[in-house]
């Protein structure tokens, strides 16, 4: 179980998270965390991993507060958004190293086969293409078979074949009773995979529910339209509340950029 209690986080003047209360209790379920760029998705996920320290509130994993703790991360498989690795290491070395440091069982062989990484095992990470890096990233993240799986933009750079394999893998994780959290901008991926959606906007939870619910609520055919509807609604609301035409224009521009 994961519980966020009133999480607030600001980077300087930029208030990224403004009081997030969120609970994930059900296992065998895929939750998608959505929101425009800069809405705080990655910050939320990083605070769950203890990489970002919230200014306010607390986070609990399986009933234990995580502040200053580290052992709970044994329960979590985490895929970072941007695959950044030590460039001069070879793929096999990196895998061996993380296995050595973290210890315990691992299913890296299975994942290497699944993503067809064998020909790259002896290559240096700096020389790999974006998609191949992402496959290494996925292997590294998922090889521990932990009960909680967090994937930050798992689809970035993947070709259709790898995409299908990834979907299959995620479904498999779900079937094994894992709790899966995904952030992505690919709405078709969400529609296909997610059991529920958490929509973040300006550091708050704007909507939580199933894909069907968000669609009926916004009278949209597809998820993409529903999300676009929310963002546009937000845009006109901002425009209405701003009295001065000049700053209204500015705020519309900034929303267009983020959306």
């Amino acid at each position: 179980m994961i519980e966020f209690k009133n999480i607030e986080k600001a980077f300087g003047k930029n208030e990224v998270l403004q009081g997030i209360d969120l609970r994930f209790t059900q296992t065998g379920r895929i939750s998608a965390v959505l929101g425009p760029n800069g809405s705080g998705k990655t910050t939320l996920i990083k605070s769950l991993l203890g990489m970002v320290l919230p200014d306010e509130g607390s986070i609990e994993v399986n009933g234990q507060p995580i502040r200053r703790e580290w052992a709970y991360r044994n329960q979590i498989d985490y895929l970072p958004q941007i695959a950044r690795f030590p460039e001069n290491l070879r793929v096999a070395e990196l895998l061996r190293m993380i296995k050595d440091i973290r210890g315990g069982a691992s299913r890296d062989e299975e994942l290497i086969n699944r993503f067809g990484l064998q020909p790259f095992l002896d290559k240096r990470l700096g020389t790999l293409s974006g998609g191949t890096k992402q496959k290494v990233n996925l292997t590294l993240a998922l090889m521990y078979d932990s009960p909680i799986v967090i994937l930050d933009e798992p689809t970035s750079g993947l070709d259709p074949v790898a995409m299908i394999q990834l979907k299959e893998l995620i479904r498999q994780e779900k079937a094994h009773g894992k709790m899966v959290l995904i952030t992505t901008h690919i709405m078709s991926f969400v529609e296909e995979m997610a059991d529920e959606i958490v929509f973040l906007l300006d550091g708050k939870i704007y909507f939580r529910g199933s894909v069907a619910e968000i669609k009926t609520q916004h009278q949209a055919e597809g998820l993409e339209e529903a999300i676009a509807g929310i963002l546009k609604g937000q845009l006109s609301a901002t425009a209405r509340t701003v009295a001065e035409p000049k700053s209204a224009l500015q705020s519309i521009m900034s929303h267009l950029q983020t959306a």
Binding site: F11, K46, L49, G50, M51, V52, L53, W70, A71, Y72, R73, N74, I76, Y78, P80, R84, F85, P86, E87, N88, L89, M97, I98, D100, I101, R102, L140
Partner: protein
């Protein structure tokens, strides 16, 4: 932590810099020893090189290593490992591999020369241990600069300023204030000023050990006169230990509160 230490040392030993550093010391101390043949003189020449070079290399290499291993650090932060362990492991990996280069680079020529049988062994030992201490101090400070500054350019700038300050500017200011306030009793001031700079402190330690008053600057004379050899050495050691410990403590404090 040992595993992190192992991998950061391994990573550093793979880069050519560590070998270049080793080769430099091998050539330099070997050359000096076999050309002059006077161990005392060689120790003094090496002292001047070590006092400038060890801090410089440790600072520059330290920030470079910190920024280069940022990706790896982020990878480790998501693993079930204590934060403290990650940063201490990396810092120790850096300081230890630089120290190994230094100790081997100076040690091998001296041992080949037969220092182990000679009476100069303690002078040699003082020299090496000061070099190692300076390496630890300045790599710690460099790590701290890296942690505090996300911006690489600013980090590098600060590292250069740090080294320049302790190696060059500090002594200039020190001398200037001695000249400006020469009418006043300055013993206490110069003692304090020396203790506050680890490079000056190391210099005093080596000079006190070598017992060569002719080569002593003003600071050395003050130390010699007021503290005598045993007490002076004790105080110097204590302050150097503080200089080594404080950055490590600060690294932990900063790392504990940092967002990644």
């Amino acid at each position: 932590m040992l595993k992190i230490l192992k991998y950061s040392t391994y990573d550093l030993l793979r880069s050519r810099w560590a070998y270049l550093y080793l080769a430099f010391f091998l050539l330099f101390s070997g050359g000096l020893l076999f050309l002059s043949g006077d161990v005392s003189k060689v120790v003094i020449s090496l002292m001047n090189v070590i006092l400038i070079l060890c801090p410089l290399i440790a600072t520059m290499f330290g920030v470079m290593y910190y920024y280069n291993s940022r990706e790896f650090t982020e990878l480790l932060l998501a693993q079930p490992i204590r934060r403290r362990t990650i940063f201490l492991g990396q810092y120790l990996g850096l300081a230890i591999s630089l120290s190994v280069s230094l100790v081997l680079g100076i040690g091998i020529p001296f041992i080949a020369y037969g220092i182990l049988r000679g009476p100069e062994i303690w002078n040699f030992f003082t020299l090496i241990s000061n070099g190692v201490l300076l390496t630890f101090i300045f790599s710690g400070l460099a790590f701290l600069i890296g942690l505090k500054n996300e911006n690489k350019i600013r980090g590098f700038g600060m590292a250069i300023v740090l080294w320049l300050f302790f190696a060059v500017v500090y002594d200039g200011l020190f001398l200037l204030s001695l000249i400006l306030f020469k009418e006043y009793p300055l013993e206490g001031f110069s003692l304090a000023a020396t203790v506050l700079n680890p490079i000056d402190l190391s210099r005093i330690m080596i000079l006190l050990k070598l017992d060569i008053s002719a080569l002593m600057g003003y600071t050395g004379a003050v130390f010699q006169k007021f503290l005598g050899t045993a007490l002076g050495m004790g105080l110097s050691l204590l302050t150097l230990a503080l200089w080594t410990g404080l950055p490590v403590w600060a690294i932990q404090q900063v790392a504990k509160r940092k967002d990644f």
